[in-house]
Symmetry: C2
Subunit: 324 residues, 2 copies
């Protein structure tokens, strides 16, 4: 983890140097704000780590790393409008602190700034990393749209759900790693392996998120346990339960999802009993492990030093052992 | 004009070929809609024309031309949310036909698609045209923000206004022309001259717009004469009048701008009398001619065939003689 923490520091430092106050301030203040309210910088750090794995130079990959972080924050600025979200990382979202118009326009500028940063990368690989970036960026938007569709859709299959979380969250992890690899001149197979490592790990991570919402340690989780159940959010747990429930259990689940008399605590408790009867937690963990193991097998296939690959494996393990 | 019409046709045809129906349709239907409700395709046609001026091949510039048109329509999709505009080109805006969320997200995808199209251009010039595109795109956003700021700002100078219309409208004309020139391997001075031609012509065009709002032929204008006055829009005419008005005239102008008893027709008539007293129409036309002449002098400086340059001059003239 030492190495990831190092790169997180590198990214943080570079973001500070890169920030500037330009006019109109109505546009640039929200951008600076969104980039300084405490992101974890995981994606750009992974990009630099992948670059290092294949023997690349940090200075050749730093602008692309910043591009990924600016892009990621652009998606958050716009998503907070779409989700009507007042909070982001415990602070006011740009949408809430200013307004929707400011959030739209400053987000647009961030997307263009991301391309500007990316364009500063080594000319030899520019076309390739632009292609990865553009494809990934469009997929992230598609994932967000599928997620919004699911809110009102009556039938969402597990496959639909896995595809959605792949697009919305996982491909950006994969894309970040692949860009780092390409900039280090990695072989195409290896660049694809590190992409698949990131993508599969991202899906596993999201499934873990779904499990933690209900089965996390309340002292460490930081959010209300069962929040997804209260809001009828179509997580892996709920979709799997809907798929498996029949007879009495199906009736009870339907009741929980539609009842207007159940209070929040009772709803969470009742749904948890149903999930336990259907063994949902274990099924979710099994699915998660499937993606986790696929991620690790791609990592194993990469032609690089075992020592350097261990950093990625330890990082992956830490993600799966987290409690919040 | 024959040649511009030809390139407009080329762009129209290529846009049709380029469109596809992908999922999620909630994202791609609005994109197809916004690209088919009848834009004039002036910017991409000018890009192709500039490419031709410097002996470029159409197929080398077509993707960049499409990129500009997709980008331009992205700005319209997002601007219509910002302006709360139900109509675009006489049809429902994406924002009105669907909703703000759909307009935000499909706009985002269009911006990325524009970069994708641009990236298909000849590798030799990719870095250069990306730089022009990114700078221009950010300037357009800045212009939109300045325009929004002006709505609530008490003091907007003529200089502020000219800067705003340059950013919001004119730089994209300049940028389109310059990209076409660069892709044709034009000399850097010539690429800059064609940029300045487009930018200055764009400013002149916008000033003409301001004049036509009040002094246009009602039968041909297509919009209500004096619409800008009714909404107290800070156009060149109003800003110039505010700058020049003193004493009685200033009092009368202030009355018109703040009165709640004046009906729309009376307001337009009264303000027009004030403008006439201050000779505002002529001053606006003088300013417009200044930019127009600067545009033409840049065109004259370009090292290219007089015959080919004449197409640009005739186009510029036609813009200035328009009645709507």
């Amino acid at each position: 983890m030492q190495k990831i923490l190092h790169y997180i520091g590198v990214v943080e430092e570079a973001l500070k140097k890169n920030s500037s106050t330009k006019i109109p301030i109505e546009l640039y203040e929200p951008i600076a704000y969104s980039l300084t309210i405490g992101g974890k910088r995981i994606r750009p750090a992974l990009l630099l780590l992948a670059n290092d794995l294949f023997g690349g130079k940090q200075e050749d990959a730093l602008n692309a790393a910043l591009a990924i972080e600016v892009f990621h924050n652009f998606t958050l600025v716009h998503d907070d409008i779409l989700d009507n979200a007042p909070l982001r990382r415990g602070k006011k979202s740009v949408y809430e602190k200013w307004n929707a118009n400011i959030a739209i326009l400053s987000g647009d500028v961030m997307l263009i700034q991301a391309i500007q940063l990316l364009s500063k990368s080594n000319k030899t690989h520019l076309l390739e990393i632009l292609a990865i970036f553009n494809t990934t960026a469009i997929q992230v938007c598609e994932g967000q749209q599928f997620d919004m569709n699911f809110e009102t859709s009556l039938t969402v299959s597990i496959d639909d759900y896995l595809k959605m979380i792949a697009l919305k969250t996982a491909v950006l992890l994969g894309g970040s790693l692949k860009i780092g690899a390409v900039l280090a001149n990695a072989k195409i197979e290896d660049a694809n392996h590190i992409y698949e490592f990131g993508k599969n790990l991202g899906i596993a991570f999201q499934l873990m998120d779904d499990v933690l919402d209900l089965y996390g340690n309340p002292d460490k989780f930081g959010k209300r346990i069962g929040g997804d159940i209260i809001s009828n959010k179509k997580t892996y747990l709920l979709l799997k339960a809907t798929e498996l429930a029949t007879g009495r259990i199906k009736k009870e689940l339907d009741f929980c999802l539609t009842s207007k008399v159940l209070d929040d605590d009772a709803k969470v408790n009742k749904v948890k009993i149903i999930f336990n009867e259907l063994n949902i937690k274990q099924l979710a963990l099994d699915e998660m492990n499937l993606f986790y193991n696929t991620a690790i097998s791609h990592l194993d296939s990469i032609d690089a030093s075992a020592e350097k690959k261990l950093v990625f494996e330890n990082f992956a393990k830490s993600l799966m052992k987290r409690e919040n």
